[in-house]
């Protein structure tokens, strides 16, 4: 399935995300002197953004099942990827472990 949004709305979306992201990036760099540091309370919240957001992206991929029940190949691949990610903290190695396991299950076992 691909998107049914047209090009103009997609361009607009990209530009809005880009502008907001740039404003975040440039914020303190541009305002240094007037605004020297993130207020401590905000800083405390920001510290948890990566873990919370990334888990929100990852968990549903592995723990939400379709009508056919859990996908064994994806769960096995996810397990292998977690193990490699934990040991190596390397994106490429994690990708290879996960995709490799998925392909072994799909093409050789199942």
């Amino acid at each position: 399935m691909t998107t049914s949004y047209g090009e103009p709305i997609l361009w607009l979306t990209i530009v809005v995300i880009g502008l907001l992201t740039f404003m975040i990036r440039v914020s303190f760099i541009a305002l240094f002197g007037r605004l020297d540091e993130v207020p401590p309370r905000v800083d405390t919240l920001l510290r948890y953004v990566p873990a919370a957001v990334l888990a929100g992206l990852v968990f549903p991929e592995f723990l939400t099942f379709g009508a056919s029940g859990p996908a064994i190949d994806k769960i096995a691949a996810g397990g292998a990827a977690v193990a490699i990610a934990w040991r190596t903290e390397n994106v490429l190695a994690t990708l290879l472990a996960g995709m490799g396991t998925l392909w072994v299950f799909r093409f050789l076992i199942l």
Binding site: T3, I29, L45, L46, L54, G56, F59, L95, M99, R106
Partner: protein, 225 residues
């Protein structure tokens, strides 16, 4: 530009490119899967230039989530860059405004992490040159690999499940983000609520889960302190 500092930046960023380039490839594949054409996909990589938010936005675009949800989700993911901006700002304070804007545009997780480590330990280094040496190769590599990913995504047969690379990249980023019990609480609550909210209308599961997880992390920090 100080060519010694510039070269050191390039040398330091090289090993990190090994992790970033496959990530960009996956972004290209995801753009292709979402139905974006080459121009839109390149436009996104140039205009947004922030991988995790691009991947999340592409997944939401693919499933026709409301545009506002796409934007809010992408921006939440990029909020962390407030920390980078605040932390690196003192080192950039003497640069001209136009330089600051350019340097901010190419600010990424990797450019921040390498530069701040170097700036803290070596006060005499030419900061502008070093940062450019780190950040520009990341930018160039990102654009090239996005294009490669679009081409690849359009050619690899569906049976290979190449779209599964997207959650794998998120997983590879999640594991090092869980550093202690408070970040673990943020991840468990954020991920758990996102799973429970998977059926929520408007694809709100992710923004709701993420926001709850952030608060859970901050509360856990307070409880355990």
């Amino acid at each position: 530009m100080d060519s010694v500092a510039l070269r050191r930046g390039i040398k330091d960023v090289f090993p990190l490119l090994l992790g970033v380039l496959p990530f960009a490839l996956v972004v290209g594949v995801a753009a292709s899967n979402a139905g974006l054409d080459l121009e839109l996909a390149i436009g996104m990589s140039v205009i947004v230039f922030a991988g995790a938010s691009q991947l999340a936005a592409l997944e939401l675009i693919r499933t026709d989530a409301p545009i506002l949800v796409v934007i809010v989700t992408a921006v939440i993911i990029n909020l962390r860059m407030f920390m980078y901006s605040a932390s690196i700002a003192p080192y950039f304070r003497d640069f001209a405004a136009k330089w600051k804007a350019g340097l901010a545009y190419i600010l990424t997780d990797q450019a921040y992490a390498l530069s701040i480590a170097r700036f803290e330990t070596e006060e005499e280094i030419d900061r502008l040159s070093y940062y450019v040496g780190v950040a520009v190769p990341l930018w160039i590599g990102w654009q090239i690999m996005t294009v490669a990913g679009i081409v690849l995504g359009a050619r690899v047969p569906d049976a290979w499940g190449i779209d599964f690379a997207v959650p794998l990249v998120f997983l590879a980023l999640l594991v090092p983000a869980v550093e202690d019990r408070a970040t673990m609480a943020a991840a468990l609550v954020g991920g758990g609520i996102a799973v429970l909210g998977a059926g929520l209308p408007l694809n709100l599961g992710l923004p709701v889960g993420a926001s709850t997880g952030i608060i859970a992390g901050a509360l856990a920090e307070r409880v355990m302190a």
